[in-house]
């Protein structure tokens, strides 16, 4: 029996802590369940601040658990922890307590653990476990409201999630079989020239793509976000989608042609989704489409092998979470002052997302362009236009959102504080890690060329937005393609088993019975002695004859 674990315990603690918290929330202290949520990501935060040190191997757990920060994972881990902390506070403030809240809290923590896990897993089984946790447990965040809309959205979400799980499993198995090893690195390497490699990678792309909202697998995203409670959609869009992204980064090997696929899909998503967002009315739906488009851009970066993906995602996660929270803040805003302040925050963050130079978003775009072919970096530049468009549209929709009944709500301040923290971080934090993450001089973003490349598409986008006649935009329900292929939930209510009519077999039975009775009558005909006597004599002669003639 080997040692229980080797290495530093920290990474394991990062994952175990939220689970404990969730257990407390769900079972022990369900009344105050929501209040423990902000505590759940704390160790993860500490872990990142400490520089994500050390790794751990627990040989007995699962098929041997390896934990340690994955390449490019530190930024994402930190961002995820931040988003979850703030969103947790938001949830604690806004959601109604009660048994449902307990369930929500419990699964919130499971999702969180999974979400952190994907950045720490060193072997595919742990990774798969974390991924399953994040994508399946998130279902409860989607359906928390229990409204018809939420349940329908949840149904689509879970269906795609399970589909993704299955695909992922297939891909991982193919990889593991080829690598004869469970380490992510070796699996990735083995996938390149495994006999079934292409199939495996395809399955992986399918699985991660669903999670990352890659077009055309993004169907669940625009439906789930509006349905989920505000903090739920915040973590969905800010943190959870990155699980898919990191999967792509970790598993999709270079030089197998799959990069191009990602680039293509990313381009379609990056621009298409943003434009489609204009057809939405619900601000959260608009944001969801913007998320899809941003994820598209990031997938493109992954496919093109850009060095700055994690950096880009770091900013986008914070910013997008902040924006979603702002929807909640807006709902809590009572006075015009509060509404104004909220809108101000939204505009700031939106500008950052759109890539205003010297904001977090701006530098993120610059970092993303590192190692990109010119064409693609131009694309990245252009993408600011569409982003601007959709975000402007979002701001408009948010501003036009009906003001809630005037009831003095003490919450607004704290909610706003949370959102502001995230937004502020989105604006400045990229600077903090700029050198560390990109290795570029601090002055680089301020160079005129980069400033210009950042500013003109933004202005163009604003101009286009000014031209767009807001009211005469077409309106479509969220879930574009889904509207076309209406998916029917098979088996959700157990359909009665195929009622086979028993008539034919009963008839058959009767026939057999009749035959038996005939046999019985035959027996009575055999009984009379004289017949039997004759048979007896014949038998005697038969035997003699047989013996005689065959001897």
């Amino acid at each position: 029996m080997t040692a229980l674990y080797s290495g530093t315990f920290l990474p394991l603690g990062v994952l175990v802590w939220p689970l404990l918290v969730g257990l407390v929330a769900m079972v022990v202290w369900s009344r105050g369940a929501l209040w423990v949520l902000p505590l759940a990501p704390v160790p993860a935060l500490g872990f990142v601040v400490a520089g994500a040190p050390g790794s751990v191997v627990v040989p007995d757990l699962l098929l041997g658990v390896h934990l340690g920060i994955v390449p490019g994972g530190a930024l994402l881990l930190g961002m995820t922890a931040l988003v979850w902390t703030v969103a947790g506070m938001h949830a604690a403030l806004t959601l109604r307590a009660g048994p449902q809240a307990a369930v929500f809290a419990g699964f919130w923590c499971v999702t969180l653990a999974g979400n952190l896990g994907v950045f720490l897993a060193g072997d595919i089984v742990t990774f798969y476990l974390a991924f399953a946790a994040v994508s399946l447990a998130a279902w409860f965040l989607v359906i928390h409201e229990r409204t018809q809309k939420a349940l329908a959205a949840g149904r689509q979400y879970i269906t795609l999630a399970v589909l993704g799980e299955a695909a992922l499993l297939v891909g991982l198995m193919i990889g593991a079989a080829a690598a004869e090893d469970l380490h992510i690195a070796s699996v990735r390497a083995a996938l390149v020239d495994a006999p079934l490699g292409p199939l495996g990678v395809a399955a992986l792309v399918l699985g991660f793509g669903i999670k990352a909202g890659m077009v055309p697998l993004h169907l669940w995203l625009p439906v789930a976000h509006p349905a989920a409670p505000v903090p739920g959609s915040a973590v969905l869009s800010g943190a959870i989608v990155n699980a898919g992204l990191i999967g792509m980064m970790l598993f999709v090997p270079d030089g197998t042609g799959w990069g191009d696929v990602l680039v293509a899909a990313g381009l379609v998503g990056g621009f298409g989704a943003a434009l489609w967002g204009l057809t939405q009315r619900n601000p959260k739906a608009v944001l969801a489409y913007s998320t899809i488009s941003q994820m598209g851009l990031m997938l493109m970066l992954v496919g093109a092998g850009s060095a700055g993906v994690a950096y880009y995602a770091f900013h986008h996660g914070l910013a997008k979470a902040a924006l979603f929270l702002c929807v909640g803040v807006m709902a809590a805003a009572q006075t015009p002052r509060q509404r104004g302040a909220t809108l101000g925050l939204v505009v700031l963050v939106a500008l950052s997302v759109a890539g205003l130079p010297l904001t977090g978003g701006g530098v993120a775009k610059l970092a993303g362009k590192q190692g990109l072919p010119d064409a693609l970096s131009l694309v990245l530049t252009l993408s600011s236009m569409t982003t601007t468009l959709v975000l402007v549209w979002f701001v408009l929709r948010l501003a036009q959102a009906p003001a809630p009944p005037l009831a003095p709500s003490p919450l607004w301040r704290s909610l706003f504080a949370g959102a502001a923290v995230l937004g502020g971080l989105a604006l400045v934090a990229p600077w903090a890690v700029w050198g560390h993450a990109t290795g570029l001089p601090t002055g680089y973003p301020a160079q005129p060329a980069n400033m210009f490349a950042g500013i003109w598409p933004l202005l163009a986008g604003l101009g286009a937005a000014a031209l767009i006649p807001g009211q005469r935009l077409p309106e479509y329900p969220p879930g574009d393609i889904l509207a076309l292929l209406r998916w029917r939930g098979g088996g959700w209510s157990g359909r009665a088993g195929a009622a086979r009519s028993a008539a034919p077999r009963r008839h058959w039975r009767r026939a057999v019975l009749r035959a038996l009775l005939h046999v019985r009558r035959l027996e009575t005909h055999m009984r009379p002695w004289p017949r039997a006597g004759w048979v007896l004599i014949v038998t005697a002669l038969t035997f003699s004859g047989l013996v005689l003639w065959t001897l």
């Binding site: 007995d60 757990l61 299955a166 193919i174 157990g494 359909r495 088993g497 195929a498």
Partner: protein, 487 residues
Amino acid sequence: MTAALPVLIVLTSLVPACVTFFLAQDSHRLRNGLNLSGAVLKLALIVWMLFAVAGGASYEATLPLAPGLVILLRVDALALLFISLSAALWFATTIYAIAYFGKKAELSRFFGFFSLCVAATTGLALSGSLISFFIFFELLTLSTWPLVAHKQDKPSLAAARAYLAYALPGSAALLWAIIWLESATGPVLFTDPPDLSVLEPGALRAIFALFIIGVGVKAALVPLHGWLPAAMAAPAPVSALLHAVAVVKAGAFGVVRVIYDVFGAGNVVALGVGWPLAVLASVTILWGSLRALQQDEIKKRLAYSTVSQVSYIILGAALASPLAMIGGLVHLIHQGLMKITLFFCAGIYDERAGVKKITGLNGMGRRLPWTSVCFSLGAMGMIGLPPMAGFVSKFYLGLGGLQAGAPWVLGVLAASTLLNAAYFLPLLYRLWVLPAPEDAKGDERAPGLVVPAVVTAAASLGVGLLAASPISPLSWATLIVTREYGP
């Protein structure tokens, strides 16, 4: 001692059985004590032998019936894998059954046959020769019939008839196969596989087919599965026994024995009978899941899911690659744990809340939290979500399929995952999400029912979570494959 142990293990359930038959109906305490102590003793013996066998020891006891007709009880790793499962689950099921029946009538008969059933299973697991395998196989069939018919109402008797109608022809086929083989090779011991060269391949294939038909009936291979859903008329402990402890498992175990100890994996591949069996198993996996999707009765749905799940074991055995076999063997344990949990819970829903249909589960998560958590764990395991046990076996099966050069297995597994999700998630959805109707009632103030469910659920989580630990079923299965069937 080495000869006494196997016999002793069989006796630990045979003796309670024989005594229980002659106990008065109302001597509950004595009867329960007897069965429980038997179960405990058996567990103790097995744990002891687990360590001994891991150290390389092996126990053997023979009873010659006639020259060549020997009952041979032999403890090897594979046998231990099976009996440790059946013994542990027997213990759990006994506790459950005691609580389930309370002080109903005819209990002496029930527990008598119950223990007899387990004794037969133990013997079957330990039997080291084809003929003793067949003898215990038959004993199992016969001792199960009264359990299925226990309620003695029309559906139960019909179910019991269906059971025999499938089982007896099956055992006829099995006997046919055994005798055909032994008439050419002489009595077959599992320790030294027979020399098959005396028969021509055609005959060997026919024999193999007969073997599969014979054990396949018990393993509920499509299209021989009809009896299993029908048997749902029986009380919950019996279902647990049928599906997890004894009967279906005996069939799957038989397949493993036939492939690895009678024919030998090499011959199976050489004869080209491995992949048809694998295909049949895959068909069963999918067909069972599809049918389960259509059931609106909880136990029926579970029954069809058993049909599908047990074929994982057969699939693993038929693929005949080391990893696949590990997956199959370990699923023998995993499926048992998960399925017995599910049946325990189904029984609790029925007993404590009067819920038989799926629609009745709405909002049960609040009223019967423990039960529902166990049920959910079992269901997740069936779907194959980590870290539940089901994931481990599925993972190994997939790798084994690739190892055996049968990538289509991945497709089967994926499809089965989706189908399992499609018929289990709705139940969880009803349990936890949908609101309970106003008139819903039910509680779980029955520790005797709930505790076993919790324990087995915890176990099915634990064996998955600690799969790699040296004391896990997975390591044991690996030991079997590497030590006894390794290249």
